[in-house]
């Protein structure tokens, strides 16, 4: 909780930096209390709001209409080494918590509030809250992953359907299919063929899939309502799997020059013989490259989402400073969010581009024919 408050105050200070002049102009003297105090008095827990959006949850909370909570309950699938498999809808937690208060148990499982496993399903083992052995619940991110994958399959197969029964001498497609064709071919020619080099055809299905998955998920993450809005590519598990794929493809498709360059590089012998300095560095490099891929995508998208959320939250933070400040800040907030959304559209493409390009470059490097 402390960490969240720290983050919140940093966040608030940053936003205050923008409207400091407004604040001194319009704020009443008695309202000039410290930010920390405001935060404690206020019900609005900004950290919870922002991290709730950035993180994952067992239900998909859409909105609250008055007192009614509008959320999609999702299936919880948990294997506990104590009590075996559990499979039920997440709405049962909510019902239990309404009846028995926070941390109510359902089949021996509960949702942690605070602590190391905040917001996650835990079970009580030896008087201690622990994560179950396996938690493969369909969470919000998983559902949004499924939706994205299904939509992407529909779009790509829909485009591919157009080509069925067409001959090369037929006219090129127009409209959406034409756009997608141009898009796919620009990725294929400008990124994959340019960076992988010869026999790029073997790798292009993976690289194209990765590009469109990342790009599409980035875009869906920017849509604020139901099917979108999940912070999918800003989740380290997703980027880790993508980076792992690239890692496996790079290292399993590599030729002997690649391994020779790593284990016995062309450097003076004293750099590699008694103490294998360079080989160790090169071996380390095998892992840092996909690690950088993972962190780059994750951090960029996470940062974008946090900034947009923070900018939107300015409106609610300034609500208690009076109508004038809040009105002014609303305009500022909407304009800044608009700007950030535009920027994120660009980032959505750039990050997909960078991931695909670097993957292609790594694959290309691992297949180069040495220096002969």
């Amino acid at each position: 909780m402390n960490r969240l408050k720290q983050t919140y105050s940093i966040l608030l200070l940053t936003t205050l930096f923008f409207f400091a002049p407004f604040n001194t102009l319009y704020a009443q003297p008695q309202q000039e209390v410290t930010v920390e105090a405001e935060a404690q008095e206020d019900d609005l827990d900004l950290g919870a709001i922002i991290f709730g959006h950035l993180g994952d949850s067992y239900e998909w909370h859409i909105t609250d209409i008055g007192e009614t909570r509008l959320a999609i309950p999702l299936p919880v699938i948990v294997y506990s080494s104590q009590s075996g498999w559990h499979c039920f809808l997440s709405s049962r937690f909510e019902e239990a918590e309404e009846e028995h208060g926070e941390g109510a148990e359902v089949e021996g499982l509960m949702i942690a509030h605070g602590g190391d496993h905040n917001g996650k399903i835990v079970e009580m083992v030896d008087g201690e809250l622990r994560r179950p052995a396996l938690d493969i619940s369909i969470t919000r991110n998983v559902l949004s992953l499924f939706i994205n994958v299904a939509l992407l399959i529909a779009i790509i197969l829909g485009v591919a359907r157009w080509y069925r029964g067409k001959k090369p001498e037929d006219a090129a497609p127009k409209g959406f299919v034409g756009l997608m064709e141009m898009f796919i071919m620009s990725v294929e020619n400008d990124i994959i063929r340019a960076c992988v080099g010869k026999d790029y055809k073997r790798y292009s299905p993976y690289l194209l899939t990765a590009f469109f998955f990342i790009f599409f998920s980035n875009l869906m993450g920017l849509v604020p309502i139901f099917p979108g809005g999940a912070n999918l590519t800003g989740n380290i598990a997703i980027t880790m799997v993508l980076a792992l794929m690239t890692f496996l493809i790079v290292n399993f498709g590599a030729n002997k020059h690649y391994w020779k360059d790593i284990l016995w590089p062309d450097v003076p012998t004293w750099l590699k013989c008694p103490v294998p300095l360079m080989p160790v560095i090169e071996l380390f490099g095998i892992f840092t490259k996909p690690f950088a891929l993972m962190v780059r995508l994750f951090a960029n998208i996470l940062a974008g989402h946090s900034i947009i959320l923070s900018l939107v939250c300015i409106i609610f933070v300034t609500a208690k400073f009076g109508a004038a400040v809040c009105g002014g800040m609303t305009v500022v907030s909407v304009l800044l969010s608009l700007f950030m959304n535009m920027l994120e559209l660009l980032v959505a493409y750039i990050q997909a581009y960078v991931f695909t390009m670097l993957s292609s470059v790594f694959i290309g490097m691992s297949r180069e024919g040495g220096h002969e």
Partner: protein, 166 residues
């Protein structure tokens, strides 16, 4: 930070979902599109190449046609020239021949005239001889009569001969 720790569940589902996506889209989606675009590109390239070749061939054909036309024109001219020459030759030959023929005919006519003349001369000579003989005969017969009578006799006889001759 919980954000920095990958969730097992999400990793699991991501692996499943991404591999399914990769399988479906990477097998039936992208290759179809890319192959077709490549084929179309090849088709366009080939068409351009074919069009270029056809153009070149067309230019060749045009040149060939021009050349043939020129050749035909040349031949035409040379044939006309030959015809003119042979016409000249034939005309002059004909003229020569006609002249020779004419000369020969004149020569023949002259010869014939000569022959006729000679025949006539000999005939004339014979008649003159006959006549002379006849006159002499008559004269000899009348000798006894007077001179005048003789003379008239001679005249009469000459008339007789003349008339009998004519």
């Amino acid at each position: 930070m919980s954000l920095l720790i990958p969730e097992t569940g999400l990793v699991f589902w991501m692996l499943v979902a991404f591999l399914i996506l990769l399988f479906i889209v990477g097998k039936f989606g992208f290759p179809t599109i890319v192959t077709m675009v490549d084929k179309r590109k090849n088709f366009i390239d080939e068409s351009l190449q074919a069009a270029k070749e056809a153009n070149e061939r067309l230019a060749g054909i045009k040149e060939e046609g021009e050349r043939l036309l020129q050749q035909a024109r040349d031949e035409h001219a040379s044939i006309l020239k030959d015809a003119e020459a042979s016409r000249q030759r034939i005309v002059s030959e004909a003229r020569e021949e006609a002249r020779a023929e004419g000369a020969r005919m004149i020569e023949d006519a002259k010869q014939q005239i000569q022959t006729e003349k000679e025949a006539m001369m000999s005939d004339l000579r014979r008649q003159v001889a006959d006549l002379s003989v006849a006159i002499a005969e008559k004269i000899l017969r009348e000798k006894i009569n007077t001179d005048s009578a003789q003379m008239s006799l001679i005249d009469r006889m000459i008339d007789e001969v003349e008339s009998s001759k004519s």
